[in-house]
């Protein structure tokens, strides 16, 4: 059962960077797989956030301690990585998983390696895209990000970059949302959304503390979630400019919102209502 996360050496550069990203992200994801409800999870991480002088990178590695409690094994990663290729045509389905298993040299029955089935594919998709985004920034491949300086501008660019990754699968995302809406899947789905917004703000160099820390994350999550939902209703490969405009508008709303929320009490009420609201804006039927 040795939890080895490094996938087999990639067959091509693209694949290996994809696997690397998936690997990196499965680490983070796995920590969340430990079923901490999002609030507890944030509480736990707050102390790290409270040290504002750290550089982004240093801070980042502390923020993501490499002590995973659950990881995808080598075989699971191999099947899931191969299955990603089939999402554009087969969606987040058992067929995609089965085809992935076959591509990786396994049998149809081997999808039993993934006890959560299609939901594992969804989580892996989310985590691996998040990993790709992070890899892109950390490996200095995100030129335009360096051309802007404010945290807000960087955040917006990162959100858009992540949204672009959905272009090939947006037409299949509704089915994924339906699966994520099952009561047993909601906690993990929301914590993946939280992890994404957290990563985005971290990568953007956000150093807010206290309540702003939470509201920023909720804000990013809300913008991302609603933009993604808009994407799913677009025609495949529709013009991305419409999404950019949408994100821009949401950013303006968000600034207004953040100014309104001050004080811990208000914050609590905000989180309480928002966890559900957030899920809804993402398209979860909760």
């Amino acid at each position: 059962m040795g939890a080895v996360i490094l996938a087999r050496p990639g067959r091509s550069g693209v694949l290996s960077s994809l696997q690397k990203a998936a690997t990196a992200s499965s680490r983070t994801q796995c920590r969340q797989n430990h079923f901490h409800p999002p609030v507890q999870y944030r509480k736990q991480e707050l102390p790290f956030r409270a040290a504002p002088t750290r550089s982004c990178r240093l801070y980042h590695s502390q923020f993501h301690p490499r002590a995973p409690t659950h990881e995808y094994t080598n075989s699971q990663t191999t099947i899931l990585s191969a299955a990603l290729e089939h999402i554009p045509s087969h969606g987040f389905t058992l067929e995609a998983l089965t085809l992935g298993a076959r591509d990786a040299g396994f049998l149809d029955v081997s999808v039993q390696l993934l006890p959560r089935g299609e939901f594992d594919l969804i989580l892996f998709w989310l985590a691996s895209r998040r990993g790709l985004l992070r890899a892109k920034v950390e490996e200095n491949q995100f030129e335009s990000l360096r051309s802007v300086s404010s945290v807000e501008a960087k955040t917006k660019l990162l959100i858009l970059e992540r949204l672009k990754m959905n272009q090939d699968i947006a037409h299949k995302w509704q089915d994924a949302l339906a699966l994520m809406s099952l009561p047993s899947n909601i906690p993990l789905s929301l914590s993946e959304l939280h992890a994404l917004s957290s990563d985005i703000l971290t990568l953007a160099g956000d150093s807010a503390v206290d309540t702003a820390w939470y509201t920023n994350r909720l804000g990013v999550a809300a913008v991302y979630a609603s933009a993604e939902l808009v994407m799913t209703s677009q025609k495949p490969h529709a013009d991305f400019a419409a999404i950019e405009a949408f994100v821009q508008r949401r950013f303006e709303d968000r600034t207004a919102l953040a100014e309104k929320i001050t004080g811990f009490k208000q914050y609590l009420g905000f989180v309480g209502s928002t966890a559900i609201g957030l899920g809804r804006s993402w398209g979860l039927k909760i």
């Binding site: 059962m1 075989s75 085809l99 076959r102 049998l107 029955v109």
Partner: protein, 311 residues
């Protein structure tokens, strides 16, 4: 009540540790033949709570299932509080037997799965798997071999198969075999190995797991459903009371055979815990997906899975 008196004579001879093979039917003759020469010092195994020489256990188990073969469903109903059918449905649904997709682009139909249902007895699980493959995955290639050590159970299964669409087709076959050694089944030949409410009766469970590993193809799946350890103390106390006092009594009333039911209850009690059994599966060489097991109805039963790694 021929079977009942046979069981009694077995029971007593077990206590005296006198092997008198001529008395009972030979359920796995080749094995028995070598075992009979052994002496008092041979390894003891548990038969319910009565220790018996290992060599006798198989015949004793055989006698139990011969005597309960036809009233078998009643026993399952009692032990599972009436929900074993739901568990079996769930078991089959999560395994999702059959291939909905053609193997390659130029094939119109896939090759189907080669499934081995061990201790398949009455065919209950095998028929469900074939139904699922056919009706859910539209796969008419997937086939099941039902293997059981007990010819009476196999006969019951054959009888019941007449009422199914798989009777006399290439999709269903029967085989008398001891799960611990199945030389007639080649290495790396099986997609899915299932054993439902059977493994607790095996004399050497680890040997059966090793044999499962051998016959499975790389990537193949071992799936087992077995009565297990109830994970809630209060429920456990109530369930134990039910199973230890009520079931043998009901067994006597319904099937006229208290001792066989007593054995069944005790064999369940003696079965390893979920964690122990998972470790045994791992030891046989399997990869364990996720937590490795799923408790059903508070742990009255559990489903364990293992996947054979690619070479």
């Amino acid at each position: 009540m021929a079977s009942r008196s046979m069981w009694r004579s077995l029971h007593y001879s077990a206590k005296r540790r006198v092997v008198s093979p001529a008395q009972y039917r030979c359920f796995s003759c080749s094995l028995r033949a070598q075992d009979q020469g052994k002496t008092d010092s041979e390894k003891m195994t548990h038969f319910g709570f009565t220790n018996v020489p290992e060599s006798q256990k198989e015949s004793l188990v055989g006698a139990v299932f011969s005597s309960v073969a036809s009233s078998y469903d009643t026993m399952n109903d009692l032990m599972s509080l009436g929900i074993h059918r739901l568990w079996k449905d769930h078991f089959v649904r999560t395994l999702n037997p059959g291939s909905p997709l053609a193997r390659r682009h130029n094939e119109t139909e896939g090759q189907g799965w080669n499934i081995l249902d061990i201790a398949g007895g009455t065919g209950d699980v095998a028929f469900r798997m074939l139904d699922h493959a056919t009706n859910v995955n539209h796969d008419r290639q997937t086939r099941v071999t039902i293997a059981d050590i007990n010819p009476d159970m196999l006969a019951e299964g054959k009888k019941r198969s007449i009422a199914t669409p798989y009777y006399n087709t290439g999709r269903l076959s029967f085989m008398e075999a001891n799960a611990q050694t199945m030389p007639s089944i080649p290495d790396n030949s099986v997609d899915l190995y299932t054993v439902v409410f059977g493994i607790r009766n095996f004399t050497d469970k680890q040997a059966a797991l090793n044999e499962a590993f051998r016959v499975l193809k790389p990537g193949g799946v071992f799936a087992c459903m077995e009565f297990s350890k109830v994970n809630n103390d209060l429920f456990n106390a109530v369930y134990k009371r039910w199973s230890f006092s009520a079931i043998p009594l009901i067994g006597q009333v319904v099937a006229g055979d208290r001792d066989s039911y007593q054995y069944l209850v005790e064999s369940i009690e003696k079965f390893p815990s979920q964690e122990e059994f998972r470790a045994m599966i791992h030891k046989a060489g399997f990869m364990i997906p996720g937590r490795g097991y799923e408790d059903l109805t508070g742990g009255i039963a559990a489903i364990h899975k293992g996947v054979k790694p690619l070479a």
